[in-house]
Symmetry: C2
Subunit: 124 residues, 2 copies
DNA sequence: CCGTATCCATACCGATACTG
DNA sequence: CAGTATCGGTATGGATACGG
């Protein structure tokens, strides 16, 4: 698919539904959770430790939304202590390449952006 | 670069700076503005009309942030009525492929996600 | 261990009115 | 035309405490 067609798509439906989905994906933690899950099955606590700064509340909420959207599956093991594991669904894994591409872009351009912000701050 | 390395990168610096940049890019309007600008030079009002639902205020704020980050250039023409045109910088254009990839992913999966939400809502 | 519930501060963002 | 300023509702998200 060409970039032109993509550009049309992004405005295709008046932007209503699409923006709702994008908002859901591009929030504070979702991309990070998806990237951290990657191909693995991960326990709640491990996930929490691998994502510095996320609160228990936000991790729960983010996982619930991803589960609701069919991007993450949740497995509860009947043990004590309880063990809950999360894993990307096939749809969730299909988000991985674009998500990592965006994250990669951000990483590559952090220095440039920070420099630009400093320069912008110094303008009269 | 492999996906594995990307996955490392996204957690590379403790996530502090990276998440700040990602938050800036992945907010309510930024991706939409970048995708709409595309390769063109666009006037403020035209931009506003091409992005359904954006308020004047949010368009201004979004453009100012993009300008500050060095992703968009702003040109004021000394005319009456005033004419201000925006255009992606080379750095801004480099964001286009990942941004459109993500938007494309979202478009493709809107039906699946909506269906999943309905199903999730019906669960006991 | 894996959540949920509550409180609270802040950030976001739309509406509106006003300026060069 | 292209903004800026201000107000106020809502959403976001951290901290904490508690429950299964």
């Amino acid at each position: 698919m060409s970039e032109y067609e993509h550009t049309c798509m992004i405005r295709g439906d008046g932007g209503k539904t699409l923006r709702a989905i994008l908002d859901q994906i591009c929030n504070k933690w979702t991309l990070l959770v998806v990237a951290t899950l990657d191909e693995k099955r991960v326990r709640f606590t491990d996930l929490r430790q691998q994502i510095p700064g996320i609160s228990q509340r936000m991790l729960t909420l983010t996982l619930r939304n991803l589960e609701r959207d069919g991007l993450v599956s949740r497995t509860v093991h009947a043990e004590v202590p309880p063990r809950v594991e999360y894993k990307l669904t096939p749809t969730g894994r299909s988000l991985l390449p674009p998500a990592l591409a965006l994250a990669g872009w951000a990483m590559e351009h952090v220095p440039h952006i920070e420099a630009s912000r400093v320069a912008y701050g110094k303008r009269t």
